[in-house]
Symmetry: C2
């Protein structure tokens, strides 16, 4: 960030620009202004694909994984990391809270290569701290654990610095339906309520900035007070924390430390756009990393869908990274299969948003698919799907159709009209994109 | 409709008003104005739940089923009808095109009770007509088959009257990526191109109205020229057909025949709201029945998710009924399990929209769920989910958790903060709804 601010174009910026097909100097300027971050710990240079998050870039998708308080199966978590790589995630967060947390982190850092990896150091600090000190650990313990994570090569880390003691006290006394649903937020709130001290990250923000600067890692400002029910959306607690985060962000910018900001949570559909606009205004265009938003509270078992709805709208309006939600959300740790389902749902949402945000640059994929579809080019279509295996399996679930699929068979619209479409010169991808045009983004 | 126009409140209106918790006289007025339709063939009075579709009512979800050109398994289609009933569909369409079409229709009419059932009579007319006449059947054959359907008790039927011969000729010569993707539309286009005659429904519209009036059934004006690729969205073909449909609709209104209008299809996310506003303006508030809209073309295998995104936005903006899309869309006839998945995705979309459209009337469900969630009341939560079996199965997929779920275990935010939340008086559903308020609908 400091290098970009000096007017040069760092190597990582060149690489991100190449991957995304954007102008490197424009990208460098956005990085300098704090409108873009690049996920990659300096210690992992060469092993991690530098991943840009922010204005003008493709919407990224993050996969959460990690052991739980009750289910510790390291092999399964490693498998989830491999699924994340295989099915096109852009980042992975290891949220382990059970077993050998350090060991799992180091394993995930390897298994998830070349994806950047994030963590929430608070989990380990609180869980191991409470065991070690047989009471709430001292404030500097949180900073020490953070440093371990960065030294291990973590590319970004969620820091719940915005939940001050005052906000934590307000939250537990509030009339919210769900006072605090963030795990890290709850741990810090319990720590502050028990010790009477201020949030250790908030109180030591300059030192936190020093650490992240040292490793050129990205701070993800957590939303400990995100709404966990649509009735709690955009209340004084959520907004109060966002304002604190925005102040902390400005100090990070002054210092040249990269920051993105996390967002909700549960939000009614018609407030998702408002949420993004508000966040972007308050943070002067910082990259927005959203969890969901889930547009209803009732979809347990299918929350990846409730989340895809909100995430697509958020992405179209400017959210920059989507944290996936699996069908197991609100119910259980996910299985690897559920990780895959959640990831693909989030990728659909991200892409639907990118068609709006990036226009033809993103919609080329759709045009290529539809041109093949109109010509019943099945191998061509399968190759372009998010999950070719699944598409092939469904296509032949009642046998192996010859020309059209088993939905219509011989009564496929393209076959019925074959006689009149024969000899038609089919439009090219570029013609289709021309027609979609840039104008559609202004709707 | 004529009864309501006379100033009285028909029995079906009373029943719909009771089911939806709305004012009967207001509902009768909307029916009279053609802003609401009630799905129920007079012949099936007492066997079918009168189902209101339109302004001020809950967004409805339709399940398509029926034999295909290559897969004819009547038992499986009956099972799909039972799944539709069990998992909360509001209507079923039998789109059978293979085997004994009449027999399947009659079976589905029984199996789907008490749900209203719709069909696309064009399929049977074209398929059996071409066989019977060894050529394109005469125009009055299409009307004869329509009458069979209505006499069997079909509550609503898709009539692709808006694709005139001129539009069909334009479509096959167009530069569209996918000229015509509607099966019924393709059949009618082929019929017109082959015979040189005008669309039989369009040419005999008054007679079509007579038939629907006789059975008090609902016309669903089909969108034969819906975009099948986002690059084709809102082109002159789609809009041309919509204008023809709007004119046909006005003639139906004059005659007191109930009509709803069908919509796309594939539409970029930022044009979904525009699509609904445009349709509502052109049709003077007729009920809008949307297929999707799918916000990307690339999601084959997961199109229920691409569709849920568009459908939720459409519903929030005023679409009145959603046609579900299954994960098998673009690939195959769906299995019963895929029917269930598609239905639940569409129900999530409908409900997300209803939170916006209907406010607290819809959001009560969410408040009840979240209040139970904050108290870790698992049986209470399961009962409120869309698919309690699946929620229970996921909840115990790693064993049977005791208090919190296996995502966090002992580190559940509610448990970590238990000490400080103890003795808290939890907000009631009404308090939560008050806070969500009506104001949020104006965002």
């Amino acid at each position: 960030m400091l290098e970009a601010r000096g007017g040069s174009v760092p190597g990582e910026v060149e690489e991100v620009a190449r991957l995304e097909g954007v102008d490197p100097s424009k990208l460098a300027r956005r990085l300098a202004e704090g409108r873009v971050v690049i996920l990659r710990n300096a210690r992992r240079s060469g092993r991690v694909r530098p991943t840009g998050v922010g204005e003008g870039l493709r919407t990224k998708v993050n996969v959460n994984l990690g052991t739980s308080g009750t289910v510790v199966d390291v092999g399964m978590e490693a498998e989830k990391a491999r699924i994340a790589v295989r099915y096109g995630a852009d980042a992975v967060m290891d949220l382990s809270i059970g077993g050998d947390i350090t060991g799992v982190r180091r394993l995930i850092l390897r298994e998830a290569e070349p994806l950047p990896v994030g963590t929430v150091p608070t989990y380990q600090a609180w869980i191991e701290g409470v065991k070690r000190y047989k009471a709430m650990p001292p404030a500097d313990w949180f900073l020490k654990v953070l440093e371990w994570h960065l030294r291990d090569g973590v590319d970004f880390a969620t820091i719940h610095a915005g939940i001050t003691r005052e906000l934590a006290e307000k939250a537990v006394r509030s009339r919210r339906v769900e006072p605090i649903v963030s795990r890290g937020g709850a741990m810090l709130a319990a720590w502050m309520l028990e010790t009477g001290e201020e949030n250790p990250y908030y109180a030591n923000w300059d030192y936190v900035l020093d650490l992240f600067a040292e490793y050129d890692a990205v701070i993800s400002l957590g939303d400990a007070l995100r709404p966990g029910a649509i009735a709690d959306a955009h209340d004084d607690l959520q907004l109060g924390e966002l304002y604190v985060n925005a102040r902390l962000l400005e100090r990070a910018r002054e210092r040249g430390v990269q920051v993105m900001v996390e967002g909700p949570g549960h939000v009614p559909l018609n407030r998702v756009a408002l949420d993004v606009r508000m966040m972007k205004a308050i943070t002067r265009g910082a990259p927005y990393y959203v969890l969901g938003p889930l547009v209803t509270d009732v979809a347990a078992g299918y929350d990846h869908i409730a989340s895809a709805i909100g995430a697509a709208i958020a992405a179209a309006k400017g959210a920059d990274m989507i944290c996936y939600i699996t069908p197991a959300e609100h119910l259980s740790l996910p299985t690897p299969e559920q990780v895959k389902e959640g990831l693909i749902a989030a990728r659909i949402a991200a892409h639907a948003g990118d068609i709006v945000k990036l226009g033809p640059r993103a919609a080329r994929w759709d045009a290529e698919m539809s041109i093949r579809r109109a010509r019943l080019d099945w191998p061509g279509m399968f190759k372009l799907t998010l999950d070719p295996e699944r598409a092939r399996r469904i296509h032949s679930q009642f046998g192996s159709p010859t020309k059209a699929c088993d939905m219509c068979g011989q009564y496929c619209a393209f076959l019925i009209l074959g006689k009149w479409l024969k000899g038609r010169s089919w439009p090219s991808v570029d013609e289709a994109l021309d027609r979609l045009g840039d104008g559609h983004r202004r709707c």
